[in-house]
Amino acid sequence: MRDEATFRVKAGLAEMLKGGVIMDVVDAEQAKVAEDAGACAVMALERVPADIRRDGGVARMSDPAMIRKIQQAVTIPVMAKARIGHFAEARVLEALEVDYIDESEVLTPADEANHIDKAPFKVPFVCGATNLGEALRRIGEGAAMIRSKGEAGTGDIVEAVRHLRTITAEVRRIGTLDEAALATAAKELGAPLDLVRETAGAGRLPVVMFCAGGIATPADAALVMHLGAEGVFVGSGIFKSEDPAQRAAAVVEATTHYQDWDRVLKASEGLGAAMRSLEARKLDESQVLSSRGW
């Protein structure tokens, strides 16, 4: 008998993306550049985070016609973003048969109290997290993949490092706890006890964790892989740089060979200018994306 859209099938696609780079693209041409550079998936969106910051206004799901063109242009998985809590946008993206939905703080939240109930969907979801409790709450709602949030559209890696280090340190900490203390940890984390137990036992999140938000160079990618990311999302970092095709291939190479510093060196050479950056610490509070969602 056939079972479609089991959690294993949803989380399994994330397993297949591991060790890879998922790139933001705004049209079919960029999607092709990303695929030819070795991206393991593309994130289809109308504006990359750096432009969303610049333009202001409400950032919504992209025009399905534009996503469809990208689906036709490449054979690698195509992901797309829905607003936090906007289950109707998510249903539209599911009907479009995107391969993964990112319930993303980069778009303007539609619901300030609730995230999407993700378990009933056939399409899998990836969600951002800044700490372990947030990651496990999203998994509890049905997310099949987690990405550390970082601070999208800045080209500043500092928040991504903070979030990754926080999550991996918390995973290590709960691994030392006995059953009574795990119940207390679940309360403190605001996370389901069964997922806290599972994470503590396995010494890792129950799903694949990528890093996002601020990766601009091959060395950034190597850094976060060493800090426990199992792959990377690069948003504005590729197509807001001087030579996107070359930088895209270099980030892919550094992600594969992150343990070999000679290869990261080689990937880092002669790439031209990185994206125009913003220091995350100097952002006005209203400009901080990673505090969206709970």
Partner: protein, 200 residues
């Protein structure tokens, strides 16, 4: 699962998992559970001293670009002429006649459709591993099927009339993911082939 006692050999076979991108860690975990000494393979030199190689699932386009970048296609063909190779999902595509060319099959990519059509089901598969234990729980994720194959290829299982498992000599391919469902029998079979080929 009580597989360790049965599968642990006198001496652990040393096998590689192609680790350019994809589901290589799940294969590593399963092979280690079965008593193998597992190495990641990212460049041709990593193939030295290996008794067999797993080519995991992942994105075949990404993996083929990596194989090209690292100059791995020739070394992989030379390796497969001597040693057992086991490909899953994208690994089946990588090994087919239109890519690295280790097996005389042609894989149809994403043959079952996009991710929302991914599924799992029970498959009857003659594994020849000495204990039947019922059907294989097969997890298909944006999976390929075997659209064509040469006369030397034995199709081991099909879904809707399309081959999803095959062997040719000591190369074995499946379009699903035994490493994700805790299904150890295919990996056991691979390790048995590695030992039979004298590799460690």
């Amino acid at each position: 699962m009580s597989v360790a006692g049965e599968a642990t050999p006198e001496r652990a076979p040393r096998v590689g998992v192609l680790a350019l991108q994809g589901g290589f860690e799940a294969h590593r975990r399963m092979l280690e559970r079965l008593g193998a000494d597992v190495r990641d393979v990212r460049v041709p030199e990593h193939l030295a001293g290996l008794g067999g190689l797993v080519v995991p699932g992942g994105e075949s386009t990404t993996m083929m670009l990596g194989i090209e970048r690292e100059g791995l296609a020739g070394p992989l063909r030379a390796f497969a002429a001597e040693r057992p190779v086991f490909g899953t999902c994208a690994g089946l595509i990588v090994l087919d006649r239109e890519h690295v060319g280790i097996m005389d099959v042609r894989a149809e990519r994403n043959a079952f459709g996009r991710q929302t059509h991914s599924f799992e089901e029970d498959l009857d598969l003659d594994l020849g591993v000495g204990r039947d234990g019922g059907p294989v729980r097969a997890v298909f994720i944006r999976a390929p099927w075997i659209a064509e194959h040469g006369p030397g290829v034995e199709i081991l299982a099909s879904v809707a009339g399309h081959g999803v498992a095959a062997r040719e000599g000591h190369a074995l391919v499946v379009s699903f993911h035994p490493e994700l469902s805790g299904e150890t029998r295919l990996h056991e079979r691979f390790l048995r082939d590695v030992r039979a080929a004298g590799g460690d």
